[in-house]
């Protein structure tokens, strides 16, 4: 599939969806709106709202807050995940001791922790960062743990026969293997950092995209809700593109599926 063709089709999907939304919310059929504009707003209203946010510059503050929460949650969660993942993988006994607690916390719906974090850390960014960290940590932790555990025995034996000591094994074998697993879950972990930030903001904050949406919802401003969702969607796509770029650079050694002919 050629790139231009693909882009055109992707654009078409958006155009059709917007048109349907527009027609059903602005034209009456059988004497009534099929989609009540009060509940569904209209594409024009939403677009106008987004434009206004950017023209007046009120949106930037929220974007900056959410972005910093995402970056902090991702960084702290990843660092902790890498450290603990490495530690557990190299010390099976420690892993066995903590195993039930890891399972317990991981299967806990993290949202129940949000009120606790708010009580502990206040309405500022840190309670959202904490929520994001609890999500990112486990993704990274499990992947790094797996990465260290699943080093091919042949590669490991080869490394030892080539004269590597424990430190060199860590640097040349375990570390790259763990990183490759971690990077392969980069999209998921960044996605969870966003979820942590936005959900945290939604549940109680003074700024951020989640806060914006929650505020609009509070006064039945549906256009505001949709505009917030739209900005959030674009925000996520941009972050995802950056992650893809980073991933390509870091995982150059990994096979990519050969381009299939169509």
């Amino acid at each position: 599939m050629r790139r231009a063709q693909l882009l055109a089709l992707q654009f078409l999907v958006a155009a059709v969806a917007l048109t349907i939304w527009h027609v059903l919310t602005t034209h009456q059929f059988f004497g009534r709106y099929l989609l009540e504009p009060f509940f569904f707003s209209t594409p024009a209203d939403v677009a106008a709202r987004v434009v206004r946010w950017f023209r007046e510059g009120t949106i930037w503050r929220h974007l900056v807050v959410t972005l910093s929460e995402v970056l902090l949650a991702f960084t702290i969660g990843s660092l902790a995940g890498v450290l603990v993942g490495f530690w557990f993988a190299r010390k099976p006994f420690v892993a066995a001791v903590f195993d039930p607690y890891v399972k317990m916390i991981n299967s806990l719906p993290r949202i129940v922790l949000a009120p606790i974090f708010t009580v502990w850390l206040g309405f500022g960014i840190w309670s959202k960062v904490a929520l994001g960290v609890t999500l990112v940590f486990f993704i990274v932790f499990f992947n790094v743990y797996q990465g260290v555990k699943e080093v091919s025995p042949a590669v490991l034996a080869n490394a030892r026969m080539l004269g590597m000591n424990e430190r060199q094994l860590l640097r040349h074998v375990y570390w790259p293997s763990a990183l490759s697993w971690m990077f392969s879950s980069l999209h998921t972990s960044v996605g969870f950092a966003v979820v942590g930030a936005v959900v945290g903001e939604y549940l109680g904050a003074a700024a951020g995209l989640g806060y914006l949406i929650q505020q609009a919802e509070g006064i039945f401003d549906v256009a505001g809700v949709f505009a917030g969702i739209f900005v959030l969607g674009v925000f996520v796509i941009v972050i995802d593109a950056v992650v893809t770029l980073v991933e390509r650079r870091l995982l150059a050694w990994r096979p990519v599926a050969a381009e299939a002919r169509d």
Binding site: M161, G163, R254
Partner: protein, 282 residues
Amino acid sequence: MEASRPTGSEKVVSKTAPAMRLDGVGVAYRFEKGSYPAVERADLTVADGEFLSIVGPTGCGKSTLLNLAAGLIAPSEGRIEVLGQPLQGLNPSAGYLFQADALFPWKTALENVAIGLEVAGISPAEAHARARAWLARVGLSAFAGRYPHMLSGGQKKRVALAQVLIRDPKILLMDEPFGPLDAQTRQIMGNLLLDLWNADRKAVLFVTHDLEEAIALSDRVVVMSAGPNACIIGDWRISLPRPRDTADVRLEPAFHEIHREIWAKLKEEVSKTYTQAEEETA
């Protein structure tokens, strides 16, 4: 064949000490539901500079024997000497070319070859320069920047060979190194190996399932019995003249004669493996 057991602890490295000596060595693999005595009372001596091949039916314990020689597993009985010294832990004099793919997938061909020098404390610049020279020797100069997944099976084996040889090990352990390659590539690789070996005559322990290949390459061929309790049951000296071409040497009458002799022995063991398998399924 019974070697006299050495008495006392002679720690002198004499010039005449064999490169490797396995003396009554046995290994039993333990697992949850019991244990499997893979190798028992295996005796094998590899002289300095000798090219020795091990052939035997599949699953008889050839890889096990090489892992013992490498020090990757410890024998449950018997003793192993390397250059006259008892082996403890990993064998530092050995380079090991594994049966499975063992290149570092996250390193380029050049980095894969250089790593053995780098971990030995040689500066990265020099290690890379010497790795380049080795890649040229195995005919892969143009592939220095490729990652293993971008190399063919034969190219990977050549990188692995350079990776092991760059450290200049006294003893070379090779486990079916050309196993998955096609017949022509095997012969090219065989000649390459003989060329490299001729340059400095390391002791080589070469495992293969291809008897012709074993004879074409080696000074000596030993046959392992079918497991369990596998040991060395036959030992032939191959006195074909060197230097050899691994393809041409197969046409000589002496080659056929020795092949017939060894094959007679090997065939017995191979058929044992299969009757055992049938009995187990019956």
